[in-house]
């Protein structure tokens, strides 16, 4: 007679086999004394394990142990909340809509930055009441009336030049490349 494997008997005893296999083993166990005894020992073992389910270890005072564990659990949770990362702020749905204007501003800034400095652009001469002319150019600034006037020329060592005309005045700003000295000239027309 061929006996089922011990592992199969253990699964049979615990009710862990499919119905077809279980049927075959049940028929064998009915006829075979040694296998029946093995199944009985597996049953006894399972009962013993279940009986021990609620048994606490010797020497353990459960109420004290449980109180200590409860306190430590609460402490652990509190500590975890202290070191937890703050919740991620909710993403506003209109955030992507802000991106486009910001991007446009950045592009505009880059374009403006890349434009040549004011010194390279010569302001047009401004004529004020009558024949008075205010003149600003990279070469210098000046005032002229009826063919007479004066001009403040740009110093030879000047590296950075800025000239501008505002209303009835003309202004220049030079920086000496060697000394770093700044010269500002402001001429008002009357």
């Amino acid at each position: 007679m061929k006996h089922p494997a011990e592992t199969a008997l253990s699964l049979y005893a615990g009710g862990d086999l499919g119905w077809w296999t279980r049927l075959g083993i049940a028929r064998h166990v009915r006829q075979c004394g040694p296998c029946r005894r093995q199944v009985e020992t597996f049953h006894t073992m399972c009962e013993m394990l279940q009986a021990e389910r609620e048994e606490l270890p010797s020497g353990l005072e459960w109420s004290e142990a449980a109180a200590a564990m409860r306190a430590n659990i609460r402490l652990g949770i509190a500590a975890g909340e202290c070191v937890a990362e703050p919740p991620e702020p909710r993403r506003s749905p209109w955030r992507p809509a802000l991106a486009l204007p910001v991007l446009l501003l950045i592009v505009a800034g880059v374009i403006l930055e890349s434009l040549p400095p004011a010194a390279n652009r010569t302001p047009a001469p401004v004529r004020t009441g009558g024949a008075l002319v205010l003149d600003a150019s990279p070469a210098g600034i000046g005032v002229e009336r009826d063919g007479r006037g004066f001009q403040l020329l740009r110093p030879a060592a000047a590296e950075s030049v800025e000239v501008s005309v505002r209303g009835d005045s003309v202004r220049s700003r030079y920086i000496d490349g060697e000394t770093g000295q700044v010269t500002i000239s402001h001429v008002y027309a009357e």
Partner: protein, 187 residues
């Protein structure tokens, strides 16, 4: 059945917070002994079992928003406990049980319990622990969940994150090893 176990603490106003803490305490009290015993059977050491039980509850309660109903919460807790104990056994190797003679006197036992009953109880405990010690961590977990906790094999497989066939193999091997241990002990 599908009542919320805990509301999210961040949004809690005072009564909700109190309610949440009360539920939290109820959850701990309702499951503490069961989880402690499961972990203790796995690791075989009271001090480690206490530490691991605390760890299990802290892990579970930190993710309490994942718990939707109480029935699932208990199963989920058992799963965390099993995995925590298996990880512990992997890190620390086999557990060492103390000898029967070295076992401390049962301080919490009833004064009505006779010395004979105490000895029998200690012997049963030693048999159980000795038998469990012969098993691998996974076999031990499978046997405890199936034969002590009474979970069906499918549920044990989900707990251990393996197939039903694998878990049946663990259960069968564990039962055979345990039976052989009992036979040796009797002989």
């Amino acid at each position: 059945m599908s009542s919320l176990v805990w509301p999210i603490m961040n949004e809690a106003v005072e009564p909700v917070l109190e309610d949440s803490l009360e539920r939290q305490n109820r959850f701990i009290s309702g499951n503490l002994r069961r989880i402690f015993l499961l972990v203790y059977r796995m690791v075989g050491n009271v001090a480690d079992a206490q530490d691991l039980t605390q760890e299990v509850f802290v892990k579970a309660l930190q993710r309490r928003d994942q718990l939707k109903d109480e029935e699932k919460a208990a199963h989920w807790l058992s799963r965390i406990a099993t995995n925590t104990a298996i990880d512990f056994l992997r890190r620390h190797g086999r557990v060492a049980f103390c000898d029967l003679d070295d076992m401390p006197e049962r301080a919490g036992s009833s004064p009505l319990e006779s010395p004979e009953a105490r000895v029998l109880r200690a012997e049963r405990e030693a048999i159980l622990e000795g038998g469990l010690e012969t098993l691998t961590a996974r076999e031990r977990a499978a046997l405890l969940l199936r034969d002590v906790e009474g979970l069906p094999a499918e549920e044990v497989a989900r707990h251990l994150g393996c197939s039903k066939a694998t878990v049946r193999s663990h259960i069968a091997n564990a039962r055979v090893k345990f039976r052989r241990y009992l036979s040796r002990r009797k002989a």
